[in-house]
Every structure is written in structure tokens, then in C-alpha cells.
């Protein structure tokens, strides 16, 4: 393990991190080990976000660094190794709403915390959620929405999941914009989460890990 690389990424020193990776690749370091360091650094970033010392700029820069490092390593790897996953989560912004910033952050945080996440995008119909639950078999479903219109489309989505006989297979969390516990009750979801860390915590509580 290169402590220097882990720290450079975790401390947001982008240029240094990329320089180190290039040097390590040229020095014939094992690309899998470099990738493992990058993942360790992401754990640190996730913890600092959880503790409230890191915020969105750090998550976004960390994501950028990880992408660039993966791009450098790709030619050296036959295939990207799959990390062990804690469980599966489907997320999406509900029908009628096209906001995606909050949803993307939740997806990112679930991913770096070890969940296999299927992001269905924005303006996702109840039917598409139902199909994804059938195909992907997640334990958790995250419904995102920014507008008050989402109160009802979230409810419709939960109702559609129930009607398809899948409600008992999944835990459902809602979040975004104007959501709160009152909205959770209205939609029939299991929980409301205020931010991405809340989503991670809910998923961990439900799935374990």
C-alpha cells in the first residue's frame, strides 16, 4: 500500500495523486494495488463526509480523481475487479421530476460505501421502478424528488411496487427537496433521509454491513 497515494487522494491533492499514480504505473506497480489504494482513500473520504468535515466539493473531487485513476489503470487491467458488495440498491428521481443532483450524490455515496447501485435516472415511471426491482432484485429502493409533485408520484411508485407484489421484498427510502417524515407517511415508504449519509445509514441498517 502507498500511504502517500491514499493521503494525497483523501486530502484532496489532485495533482499529486495523479502524478503518483502515473509514476507507480511506469514503475511497474501492480495496478490492482493502486486501485485498492484509491478505494481505501475513498473510504477515508466517505468517513470524513460522514463526520461532517467533508462536503460536496470533496465528494465531487474524489469522484473525479477516482475516474481519472481508473482511466489510467484500465489499459493495464484485463478487467476491472469487482469489489465485494454489501447489497443492492435501486435509486431514481420519480416521475415528473427531472432533478438529479441529490440523487447522484446518494448514488455516489452508496457506491463508495460498498453497495451495488442501479441508478434509473430522472423522471422514472412507477412501472420502470417495478421492472428494475424485478430484474435487479435490490433489497433497498431510494426514491428521490425535489418538487411537491413528487409527494404523489412517490406514493404512486410505492403503490405500484405493492400492486406488483414486490413490496415485502424491499425497504423504501425517500429523500430530497421538500421531503420530510410527513411525506414519508403519505407515500407509504419505510423511511425519510435528509442527506446522502442518511441514505447510507438506512441501507446499512436494512441490509447489514
Amino acid at each position: 500500500m502507498s500511504e502517500q497515494l491514499v493521503n494525497a487522494i483523501a486530502d484532496m491533492r489532485e495533482e499529486e495523486a495523479l502524478k503518483l499514480v502515473k509514476e507507480m504505473v511506469e514503475g511497474d506497480s501492480d495496478p490492482l494495488e493502486i486501485l485498492d489504494d484509491a478505494r481505501k482513500a475513498m473510504d477515508v473520504v466517505g468517513k470524513r463526509y460522514e463526520e461532517g468535515t467533508y462536503f460536496l466539493p470533496e465528494l465531487m473531487l474524489a469522484g473525479e480523481m477516482l475516474n481519472q485513476i481508473t482511466d489510467i489503470l484500465k489499459p493495464k487491467l484485463a478487467e476491472l475487479p469487482e469489489a465485494e458488495r454489501l447489497g443492492k440498491v435501486v435509486v431514481g428521481t420519480v416521475a415528473g421530476d427531472i432533478h438529479d443532483i441529490g440523487k447522484n450524490i446518494v448514488t455516489f455515496m452508496l457506491d463508495v460505501n460498498g453497495f451495488d447501485v442501479l441508478d434509473l435516472g430522472v423522471d422514472v415511471s412507477p412501472q420502470k421502478f417495478v421492472e428494475a426491482i424485478g430484474d435487479f432484485q435490490p433489497q433497498v429502493v431510494g426514491l428521490s424528488g425535489f418538487l411537491t409533485l413528487a409527494f404523489d408520484t412517490m406514493k404512486e411508485t410505492v403503490d405500484a411496487i405493492t400492486a406488483a407484489g414486490l413490496r415485502d421484498n424491499v425497504k423504501i427510502m425517500v429523500g430530497g427537496g421538500q421531503m420530510d417524515d410527513q411525506v414519508k407517511v403519505h407515500t407509504g415508504a419505510d423511511a425519510y433521509g435528509r442527506d446522502a449519509m442518511a441514505a447510507v445509514k438506512l441501507a446499512k441498517d436494512w441490509i447489514g454491513g
Binding site: 484532496m12 489532485e14 468535515t53 467533508y54 462536503f55 460536496l56 466539493p57 465531487m60 473531487l61 473525479e64 415528473g96 421530476d97 427531472i98 432533478h99 443532483i101 418538487l147 411537491t148 409533485l149 409527494f151 404523489d152 427537496g177 421538500q178 421531503m179 420530510d180 410527513q182 411525506v183 407517511v185 403519505h186 435528509r194 442527506d195
Partner: protein
């Protein structure tokens, strides 16, 4: 004799603006004719109440406002598409809304905006009914990187040139011709002058100007309907004191130009450029607000606040990147007698220690999901608070829930003045009986 505007202090300018509101003029320049003595009395009582609340004095009772997004049109059984395309229907629905709920203050029927105008210009920054959004849903922003990371120097050199030649062609499909125009600042001497004007003979530039003429005609048609609506509501005793809007420089770059991801990466990759660009935007944002206030005669300048909310950035980043230029914009507005009206959209609990550092009794802040008791103890010591009945309560609660909540607001946050009861976030769907309970409770229970 009245003092010249330029010689007045900020306080005198604000007083002059409030006096202007208290003696409204009709389109002919003479004193506005109210439809009844009662309407005139209601109008003046509402203005006085709001001015007192802003100045942190106790009015006769707690003023109440309803600040909707699309609620008036949904409540009238219309689709958002209808509200955006039928200006008269939009104005009529808004009038019904005001007559039904009778708030002390409103912000006009302009929220839907003119759909046809956006269509003519082929606006890309938003999706709206019929253009990426269903007829019954509100328009929504398509955030993106409309300014690249490499363009900060261009923006800094000449923001107007940058907006015209780079930004506008990216967000308006019909304004591509702007890319071909020389900067206006190239017009200096007789020699060589004509070269600058050759592009106006070219079809893409002419098509761009034709689109602007058409869009302008549509905007005028819409503005006529909106102005008529405001005028009529004033004669009925319901003031609109919204003068216009401006934005925090951080949000100009984060919402409009670089996008959330762009600005957040810039905080690490090019902080000096980002700070310089925000500095350059300060006088422009002050001018935008002051200009709108002069044009409309209304001093309240709305500032929607977005990317400084809890959870977006750290406190240190907030102090370095978000607050300094926002404060400068507000101070610039205050010095011209305007009332900054920032909306703390979402949660802002962690920012209170910082943002309470503003002059006393000069601003009115819309509070959404922040803990309003704590806001009162901090920011609320210096500023009037508007709020904060939540969208979820208005939509999913009962009139009793709303009434209990408003009573508690009045008993606590209303102590000593400085509270305008209202909703916390601009809302679309809500139960009308809940909106009614919000207004009626404030009126019945809010006497000082």
C-alpha cells in the same frame, strides 16, 4: 423641498421608497384610484404592516403572505401549460387566488412566465410543459456546464461580451448569431469602424435579431397582462411590493454558468479565478436589483439562495466562497434603499452565526426548513423572517395542523415584531383549506 436621490442616506432612500408605495400612481401618473375606500385602507395598512415588520417594529398585527410557485393555477384547475401560454387566463387565476386568500402581500402572477417567449428563443436551460415536462408539471432547470472551466478569464475580461457571445448562444438555440458579433467596445474611431458591423448583414445574425424582435413582442404582450393584473389587484387593496430579483454571485456561477459540479471542482482547482469572477459579479448583481427596483417602483428584491445551504459546502468554504460576495450584494441594495429578500431554501441552520452579520431592520428572509426558533435567536435579531409553514404541511397536513403551527410561530418568532407569516418554500400542490388556515390564523391570532 425633497432631497435629491443622490444626497439621501440609505435610510432616507428606504423611507422614500416606502412613502412611494403608500401613495401609488396609476398608469396616467396621477394618484391611483382605488375601487373603494376600504380597498385603499387595506392596501395602506398592509404596506405599513410589512414595512414595520421589516424594520423590526411591532405592527398592528403580524402580516401574512402567500408566496406560491404554481399553486394559484393548479388551484384554479388549470394545467401549468395553460398558465404559461394563456396570459389572460393566468392573470385571472391569480386574481381569484388573491381574492380567495387575501394576503397582506403578494409577488404577482409572473411565476409561470410566457411559454411562447421561451419557445421563440428555444430556451435550453429549462424544460417546461410541452418541452420536456408534462402539461401539469412545473418547469425545471437543466443544470449543466454552460461555461467551461477555461472561460473564467473571458468572463472576467468583459462579462457582458462573454454572456452575449458565449453564454446566450448555448442556452438559447435561436441566438447563435451572437457568436459572430464584435464587442461593442471595438467601436472607437471612424477608421475601421464598419468592419465591426459586417456581421449584421449575415443571415445567422439577422435570424438572431428577428428571434429577439419576436420574443420581445411576446414578452411585451405577457408583461401587459402581468402589469394589468398587478394594477387591478392594487386598486382592490392587495399590494405587490416585489421589485425584482438578483442572485448571490456563488449561485450565479453554480446554478447558471458552471453547474454544481463545475463550481465545486473549481473551489479546489481554480479558487482564485472563482473568487475573482464572483467579485466581478458583485456590482452587476447590485445593478440588477437596484435597476429592477427603480423600474417597478418596488423596493423588495428577491434573492433565491441555493448552494450555500447546509450540507453543500463546509462552514469554512461558506465563509470564504459564499457569504462575502452575497453580503456585498445585499449591502449595495440596502445603500440604494432596497429591501433584500433572500430565501433560505432548504436547511441553513449551520450558517446562522455567519449570516446574522447584517444591518438591523433592512432585510426580510424567507425561511424554509431551518429551525425557525434558532433562526429567530440569531439572524432574527437583525432581520425580519418570513415563513415557515412547510410544503409538506400545506400539502399533506390538516387546517388544524397549520393553524397550530402558525399560532406557535406568532407566540414565539413573532415576539417583538420581525415576523411575516407565510409558507417556507415556493409551492405547487397544496390543500386550499390549509393555505386558508395559514392566512386566517395569522389575521385572527396575530394582533400585537
Amino acid at each position: 423641498m425633497e432631497k435629491e436621490q443622490a444626497q439621501m442616506s440609505a435610510d432616507e432612500k428606504l423611507e422614500a421608497n416606502i412613502q412611494k408605495l403608500l401613495s401609488p400612481k396609476g398608469p396616467d401618473g396621477n394618484d391611483l384610484q382605488f375601487q373603494s375606500p376600504e380597498a385603499e385602507a387595506n392596501y395602506k395598512a398592509s404596506i405599513t404592516r410589512i414595512a414595520d415588520a421589516v424594520k423590526l417594529k411591532e405592527p398592528d398585527r403580524v402580516p401574512v403572505t402567500v408566496l406560491p410557485s404554481m399553486f394559484p393555477f393548479i388551484n384554479a384547475g388549470m394545467t401549468i401549460e395553460e398558465a404559461m401560454y394563456d396570459y389572460d387566463k393566468c392573470a385571472a387565476a391569480f386574481k381569484e387566488f388573491i381574492l380567495e386568500f387575501e394576503p397582506d402581500m403578494h409577488i404577482g402572477a409572473a411565476a409561470p412566465g410566457p411559454g411562447k417567449f421561451y419557445e421563440i428563443l428555444d430556451y435550453k436551460l429549462y424544460s417546461w410543459p410541452g418541452h420536456g415536462v408534462a402539461p401539469e408539471h412545473c418547469y425545471q432547470c437543466n443544470e449543466g456546464e454552460y461555461m467551461t472551466a477555461e472561460e473564467y478569464d473571458l468572463l472576467l475580461m468583459d462579462p457582458s461580451f462573454y454572456f452575449r457571445n458565449f453564454y446566450l448562444p448555448r442556452v438559447f438555440g435561436a441566438l447563435g448569431g451572437f457568436q459572430m458579433l464584435a464587442p461593442w467596445t471595438s467601436t472607437l474611431e471612424m477608421y475601421g469602424l464598419a468592419f465591426n458591423y459586417v456581421p449584421f448583414a449575415l443571415p445567422p445574425v439577422q435570424a438572431t435579431f428577428q428571434a429577439l424582435f419576436d420574443a420581445g413582442a411576446e414578452a411585451l404582450k405577457w408583461a401587459g397582462a402581468m402589469g394589468g393584473s398587478n394594477g387591478e389587484l392594487t386598486t382592490l387593496g392587495y399590494p405587490n411590493i416585489l421589485g425584482g430579483f438578483t442572485k448571490a454571485p456563488f449561485d450565479v456561477i453554480g446554478d447558471t454558468l458552471r453547474g454544481t459540479k463545475g463550481i465545486m471542482l473549481d473551489m479546489y482547482r481554480r479558487p482564485e479565478k472563482l473568487l475573482a469572477a464572483m467579485d466581478a459579479l458583485v456590482p452587476i448583481m447590485i445593478g440588477m436589483g437596484v435597476g429592477a427596483a427603480q423600474q417597478t417602483g418596488n423596493p423588495l428584491i428577491f434573492i433565491p439562495l441555493h448552494k450555500g445551504a447546509d450540507g453543500f459546502i463546509s462552514d469554512e468554504q461558506f465563509k470564504k466562497f459564499y457569504w462575502p460576495t452575497l453580503k456585498q450584494v445585499m449591502m449595495g441594495l440596502i445603500s440604494e434603499g432596497c429591501i433584500p429578500f433572500p430565501a433560505l431554501e432548504g436547511h441553513w441552520d449551520s450558517r446562522m452565526e455567519v449570516i446574522q452579520d447584517i444591518p438591523k431592520g433592512k432585510t426580510a428572509w424567507m425561511v424554509d426548513q431551518s429551525d425557525i426558533q434558532k433562526v429567530k435567536a440569531t439572524l432574527g435579531q437583525n432581520a425580519c423572517l418570513i415563513g415557515n409553514v412547510s410544503s409538506s404541511m400545506l400539502n399533506l397536513g390538516t387546517p388544524q395542523d397549520v393553524s397550530d403551527y402558525v399560532k406557535n410561530l406568532i407566540d414565539t418568532v413573532g415576539q417583538g415584531g420581525g415576523l411575516i407569516v407565510g409558507n417556507g418554500a415556493f409551492f405547487d400542490e397544496a390543500k386550499p383549506e390549509n393555505v386558508k388556515a395559514m392566512v386566517d390564523t395569522a389575521k385572527e391570532y396575530g394582533a400585537y
